[in-house]
Symmetry: C2
Amino acid sequence: MARSANVLGDGWILLVMRQACLGTRRFEDFQRLLGIGRNILTIRLNRLVDEGMFAKVEYQQRPVRHEYRLTDKGREVYPILAAMAAWGDRWLTGPEGTPLVLHHTACDHEMHAVVVCSECAEPLDVREIQAKPGPGFPRRRKQTSSTDS
Amino acid sequence: MARSANVLGDGWILLVMRQACLGTRRFEDFQRLLGIGRNILTIRLNRLVDEGMFAKVEYQQRPVRHEYRLTDKGREVYPILAAMAAWGDRWLTGPEGTPLVLHHTACDHEMHAVVVCSECAEPLDVREIQAKPGPGFPRRRKQTSSTDS
C-alpha cells in the first residue's frame, strides 16, 4: 500500500488517470477537461509514462504529435478509482446526487464498485482483516537473513 | 471521484489512514511508525478530523491526551486502501514478494481485495464501464435549471 500511495497519493495523478479512463488521450484534451496548468500536467504525464501506466505513442508525424494510452498497469488502476467514487457517493455527496452514473455494459446495469474478498466474495470490513508481514516486508527480514543491517 | 481525490490524493493521508486501519490511534505512535514530521502529521490528523474520518477522543485527563479513532466514514476508506495494495502487489512488487499478507477472519483465508460490480459481482474492467452525467454533475446542469450561470 505504501508503494501504491507513492504513485497514487497525488490529486492530479488521480484526476489524470480518471480522465484517461473516460477515454482522454491527448495533452490538449487533458488540459482543457481538467483545467490544469501545462507544467503541472506535463509533470504528471511524464510520471505516468515513467511508471509504465501510460504509453506515449506518436499518432501524427508532421508535425509530430503524441497521445497517452493506458497500459494494462494503468488500466488496472480503474477499479481503485471506481472504489473511491463509490466512497465519495456515499460520504461526500449532498442532496444534488452523484456527479457520474456508471453503467456496466457487461451486465447492462447501473452500478457502483464494491471491494470484496478474493476468497469468499464478501465486502471487506477493516475489522475483519488481519495484516501480517509478508516475504517483502521492509527492514524486518527474517533473523536468518545475511543481508540484515 | 474528483471529490474523493481531493481528500485521498495525498500520500501522507493515505499512509495515516492505512496506519489507523492497522490499529494505530495515538499521535506518538503514528509519528514513530510512519517516520513522519510532527508538523506534517498534525496537518494530516487535523484534516482527517475536519473531514469526519477521525474522531478526536480524550483518553486521559492529567495531562490531557487525545487519540484518533476511525469513524464509519474513515473505516470505509479501508477497501480503497486494500484495492491499492492489491494493485501494488500485482504491479509494483519485485521478487521479494508482498510486504503484507492479509487474512480475512470472516472466512479464515489469506486473501486480496477485488473490486467488483454491485449488480453482477464480476470484477470491473474499465473497457466495460460507461460513465454518464448524474444529477450532481457539476456546471452542466439541465438546460431547464434556473440556476445555470
